[in-house]
Subunit: 157 residues, 2 copies
DNA sequence: GTGATTGCAAATCTTTTGCACTAAA
DNA sequence: TTTAGTGCAAAAGATTTGCAATCAC
């Protein structure tokens, strides 16, 4: 990788990269997904995957990118999140009307959603089991079962 | 109830009412909910509760009201749906980003959601059981568990 | 009458899209 | 080059809000 390529304007891309996912891994992920590794995608993959399971909205990820000095437009963040989701790098979680969360955990799992704070937390699928699921209506097949455990902070009077 | 009160302009409110929930029941529901029984609320309660379990969006309910000759603005439909939900007459179901469904079934239950058609169908809670639910994070309590079984029509090649 | 409710239109918020420009291969 | 990707600003939806007019009590 050529440092010069990533040194743009007022910020040093390398500094951001140092703390993030190794470039090789990020590149590999994009290649596997069949997505051209552009500067923006590379930066977003690293932000997303550098730490463990994460839940972001387009808005929050865009904010992080800005804070890290990465130049990327909100429209591109939206587009990229959807491309990543289609490519299987992310999963979309629908828990609130009017807001989409994207989840870096693509394994089978479920969620705690705190109605008070808006925080989303994973529940590994192996913790849970559902029984008594009725047959899906004729002519349809199950694509996924989502369980959302809605919680709220104890009402401390 | 005074018929004259419900005879407004170009349509006969009574005609609409004949096929719907008895007025007494609709009135009672609103009274129980502490909501002043206005013409619009009365009409919407009846549309919502006249038949069994229903799933509506503000848009679809507004369309039904229009078709039935009931004068009500979309903004009022939105406001009313939320008032009904707060009052426990309805439940909100979040299944798709960018669209809120309201469910006339307020009993404990879950959903099939068809990704192909957008159709929502109830699964009575007694059909299902979930085991292995982890303790909610400290300081929080569970308010509800939502299970969405996402289905799609068989991919007939 | 008096305060709650409604309608309308404008505002807000999230998300998508069109198109000229830029960058990867 | 050649084509994919990006940024911006405008558009598109869904939902909410402000305020004057209207309605229930």
């Amino acid at each position: 990788m050529n440092a010069a390529v990533y040194f743009t304007g007022a910020y040093c891309y390398i500094c951001v990269m140092n703390k993030a996912l190794p470039t090789s891994t990020a590149l590999q992920r994009l290649r596997e997904a069949g997505l051209r590794p552009t500067r923006q995608r590379l930066a977003l993959v690293r932000l997303l995957l550098e730490s463990g399971d994460r839940h972001v909205t387009a808005e929050t990820l865009h904010g992080e990118a800005m804070a890290a000095g990465i130049k990327v437009s909100l429209a591109t963040v939206y587009n990229t999140l959807h491309q990543f989701t289609e490519a299987g790098l992310l999963r979309e979680a629908v828990v609130e009307p009017g807001r989409s969360y994207f989840d870096t955990n693509t394994a089978d799992h479920h969620h705690f959603f705190c109605e008070t704070t808006g925080e989303l937390r994973d529940i590994p699928a192996h913790h849970l089991s559902v029984s008594g699921l009725p047959e899906p209506p004729a002519g349809t097949e199950i694509s996924r079962v989502d369980i959302i455990v809605r919680i709220r902070t104890d009402s401390a009077a």
